[in-house]
Symmetry: C2
Subunit: 166 residues, 2 copies
């Protein structure tokens, strides 16, 4: 079996000087639209957690999210953050990065994809790697050997293009 992965590795690391407000804004609007479409409630805390997650492209820990929510005197509890993250993950708005115990905004919300991640340990940013073809090929190879995959964690750490150049 031959396959060319080139066209499928749809990987995008945002440039250092990009207009990040746009990323965040777009993500929030999309979240709102998606929730509305599926009858889910995009409540205040859900919006605020997602805003915090989208403050950068680097995965952020639950307790760091908590601290940001509570900057200025809030009293939100850890469990509230975890519950909210669970909701956001179930609805494809956030991903968990197991190797970092951290969370990152989903760059392709609404696409119902299986994502892998590239994590730059220089700038901290994580990019989704959309390698559906590769992953499907692997899964079917495995299935042929009797192992049926139903979830995956693929997290590659290294240096991103911008930091390589930097």
């Amino acid at each position: 079996m031959a396959h060319n992965t080139k066209k499928n590795l749809n990987l995008v690391f945002p440039a250092p000087g990009h207009d990040h407000k746009c990323c965040a804004m777009a993500a929030l609007m999309k979240a709102e639209v998606l929730c509305r479409a599926s009858g889910k409630k995009f409540t205040d805390i859900r919006r605020r957690v997602l805003e915090v997650v989208w403050e950068s492209h680097a995965p952020i820990g639950a307790y760091d999210i908590l601290a940001k929510l509570n900057r200025g005197g809030g009293r939100t509890a850890p469990i509230a953050v975890y519950r909210t993250l669970e909701f956001l993950m179930e609805n494809g708005l956030v991903h968990r990065i197991a190797s970092l115990n951290a969370f990152v905004g989903c760059a392709q919300a609404g696409h119902d994809h299986v994502a892998g991640f590239l994590i730059c340990h220089e700038c901290g940013a994580a990019a989704e790697m959309d390698s559906e073809t590769l992953s499907q090929a692997l899964d079917s190879e495995l299935a042929a050997r009797g192992f049926v995959v139903d979830s995956q964690v693929v997290e590659l750490s290294g240096t991103c293009p911008h930091c390589c150049a930097g």
Copy 2:
């Protein structure tokens, strides 16, 4: 670029009724040999932790290891387990499974490989997947796009052949 992954996915889930004593024994002997060869000390606690890890093919948490070390009245502290696991990982005798916060014996100690894991959520067993070719291909595709990989976490969960059959 074409590549056939078939011959490289060297994946082995031990059968339910296999003689596990042999697995454990072999792993311990190999550890001893490797340590001797590299001038590292295979001390008592290192041996005992590795024994516990090899009690099964299912990844085990650090605190579960601790509990087993202390069954019968020991007073080993958590840090001792973590230090020991660090040593065992540095020396290629144990792997960490990030998605489970758990540790598993290395099935190919001494080979200096980059491993991925298949984890069965029926029986709990984890098998190393030796897909050097696949991984190298992916890494070079990524390098071509400017991302230089230097470590990876690949953990696929699903149902193993024995549990599929069972």
